[in-house]
């Protein structure tokens, strides 16, 4: 009981089939109260289906789901008072101003936040009197967040809050979502951007083809897939030909085992490349050997660069065909 009380969301073995299509095949997920969790996965992975089941907007085929201690399939108005929902690609009625829409929606709740306060929270105070059809994409999204917050919820769902946004609008939306933290709200957001998940969330849950494939912080996920780092330098400074046999093998050897990653494609460096590269998990050993070879050749190897695996590499490794 005491453990359950700490969990805002608890999902076990969730499945959803549409006829023969299995959109979600056994999702397990738990989100603690006050946590910000990103539900990360490519398009069609089952993110929206899962989240809409948690929101009580979709039925499920099987599995156990508890959201704020209630099965969303039995959603009551009481329960809906406690959650806020931002749907994917939310649009608003264009003839109303931002303030009017918030006021209209505040009537749906028992003890709503004042309209001015909500607009302030999402940074739309200056646009209060603007018709929503004149709001930018980022502002429209912030208005959608405002509508999710007007009932003063404990838990907020955000489905792909920045998909299709330009960088400025994305940053705006990120600021708003980050602001939810100070309200102490539990947040479950879906995204197909690894950087967004890393930027906003305490924890990332990765879904691929209807199944959870990883769960942890960005650093933990990177460690979990143990992607190699990339070591490269200028061939003019140190020709690959002078390297030891072991290092020369690494130039192509490591790359072959990781066909699905961005790192692999560059690691398959041909000798004619201007920058030979080694993809390795033993960065220290390789560097020592490489620097020793450089000493032997009488070069300082100033062009040496070490690139740790990117978020993208980790994401592709987690959701791709490999691993």
């Amino acid at each position: 009981m005491s453990d359950d009380a700490q969990l805002a969301i608890e999902v076990a073995g969730l499945c959803k089939h549409y006829g023969d299509i299995e959109a979600v095949t056994g999702v397990d997920l738990s989100v603690a109260t006050g946590e910000v969790v990103a539900f990360l996965g490519p398009n069609g992975a089952g993110k929206t289906t899962t989240v809409e089941i948690l929101e009580g907007l979709r039925t499920r085929t099987s599995g156990d789901v508890q959201v704020l201690g209630v099965d969303p399939a039995q959603a009551t108005a009481e329960w809906r008072e406690r959650i806020g929902v931002v749907l994917q690609g939310a649009k608003h009625e264009g003839d109303f101003t931002a303030a009017e829409i918030v006021t209209m929606w505040s009537a749906y709740y028992r003890s709503p936040r004042p309209t001015a306060e909500v607009l302030e929270l999402v940074g739309l105070a200056d646009a209060a009197g603007t018709r929503t059809r004149r709001l930018s994409g980022g502002q429209q999204q912030r208005l959608a967040v405002a509508l999710a917050l007007v009932g003063d919820p404990e838990l907020v769902f955000l489905d792909e809050p920045t998909t299709g946004f330009d960088p400025a609008a994305r940053r705006e939306a990120w600021q708003t979502i980050d602001g939810l933290r100070s309200l102490g709200v539990t947040v479950l957001l879906t995204t197909h951007y690894m950087d967004e998940a890393d930027q906003l969330a305490d924890r990332i849950v990765v879904i691929s083809r209807g199944r959870i494939v990883a769960d942890g912080t960005a650093a933990e996920l990177a460690a979990h897939v143990a992607m190699p780092s990339q070591i490269s330098w200028d061939a003019a400074e140190l020709s690959p030909a002078v390297l030891s046999d072991r290092l020369r093998d690494l130039l192509s050897g490591d790359a072959g085992s990781l066909p699905s990653t961005a790192a692999a494609s560059t690691a398959a460096a041909e000798p004619r490349d201007a920058r030979p590269a080694i993809a390795t998990r033993d960065v220290g050993d390789v560097l020592r050997e490489l620097l020793a070879a450089a000493d032997g050749a009488g070069t300082r190897l100033d062009s040496l660069a070490v690139q740790p695996p990117t978020l993208e590499d980790t994401y592709l490794a987690l959701t791709g065909d490999g691993s």
Binding site: L57, E81, K91, H92, D95, F96, A107, Y108, Y109, R110
Partner: protein
């Protein structure tokens, strides 16, 4: 907020949205008045020898029927499809607002519009064309307006089930009502029309609304007009609308 407060808020914002939509205000408020002026100008406002009543006695209730259909059926359908296809209804489903309050708010707004148009059309008929509601017929008029508004609002929700997109909604709703106006005593009296035309008019609800309204303006009608079976047909169409809505209504956009 209390349920009553929610209903009032929904109705208020529905009316505000209506006022700010040029298309909705033109088709529901301006166009019926233009029709009234055009028809009475073309046909004059003489006393018709066969009935002894003025020409406008036919057009005032006809145009009132047109305005009622527009305020309830057309508006409910078009606004609902726009909200549905933009995901507004789906988002609303995720709030504690009960669906019946949403529908009730829209109905309340339609009733206010209907009352406004009734006052406007009757006022113009009285001041401009010497057509009056018969004092004894006021209860009958109110019943007809109430039953008609409820029935056409229900049919407005029902028709959204066959409107795939917000672009299709105005076309489909107009396709439903425009041809019917010509066989339903709205634009022209159906007396003397071919039998198949009067039959079509009798099947669908608009003619029953127009004729029931017409009875309340007829200076020679005997006693209190009680077009009970026309009310029943209107109510039956309304019930059909409710059943279709309950069975097929969608809260979510097509895509």
């Amino acid at each position: 907020m209390t349920r009553l407060g929610q209903l009032r808020s929904e109705a208020r914002f529905n009316l505000l949205g209506f006022r700010r939509s040029p298309a909705a205000t033109f088709f529901t408020v301006v166009l019926p008045i233009i029709f009234l002026v055009i028809f009475t100008s073309i046909f004059g406002n003489e006393i018709i020898s066969s009935t002894g009543a003025r020409v406008a006695t036919v057009y005032v209730p006809g145009i009132l029927a047109l305005a009622l259909v527009s305020a309830n059926f057309m508006n409910a359908a078009i606004v609902t499809v726009i909200r549905r296809e933009n995901g507004v209804l789906k988002a609303m489903r995720a709030t504690p607002l009960p669906p019946w309050v949403y529908v009730g708010g829209q109905l309340a707004a339609s009733l206010v519009l209907t009352a406004f148009m009734t006052a406007l059309v009757i006022g113009i008929g009285w001041l401009g064309y010497s057509v009056e509601v018969q004092p004894g017929a006021v209860p009958s008029l109110l019943i007809t307006l109430g039953v008609g508004a409820a029935a056409f609002s229900a049919l407005g929700l029902a028709i959204t089930c066959v409107c795939p997109s917000e672009q299709a909604a105005p076309a489909i709703t107009n396709m439903c009502v425009l041809p019917l106006y010509f066989v339903s005593d709205v634009f022209i009296p159906s007396e003397g029309a071919p039998r198949w035309m009067t039959f079509i008019g009798d099947v669908f609800p608009i003619k029953h609304l127009a004729v029931a309204l017409g009875r309340t303006f007829d200076p020679f009608s005997e006693g209190v007009p009680m077009p009970a079976w026309r009310w029943l047909i209107l109510a039956a169409w309304g019930a059909f609308g409710v059943l279709v809505t309950l069975r097929f209504f969608r809260w979510t956009p097509r895509n």
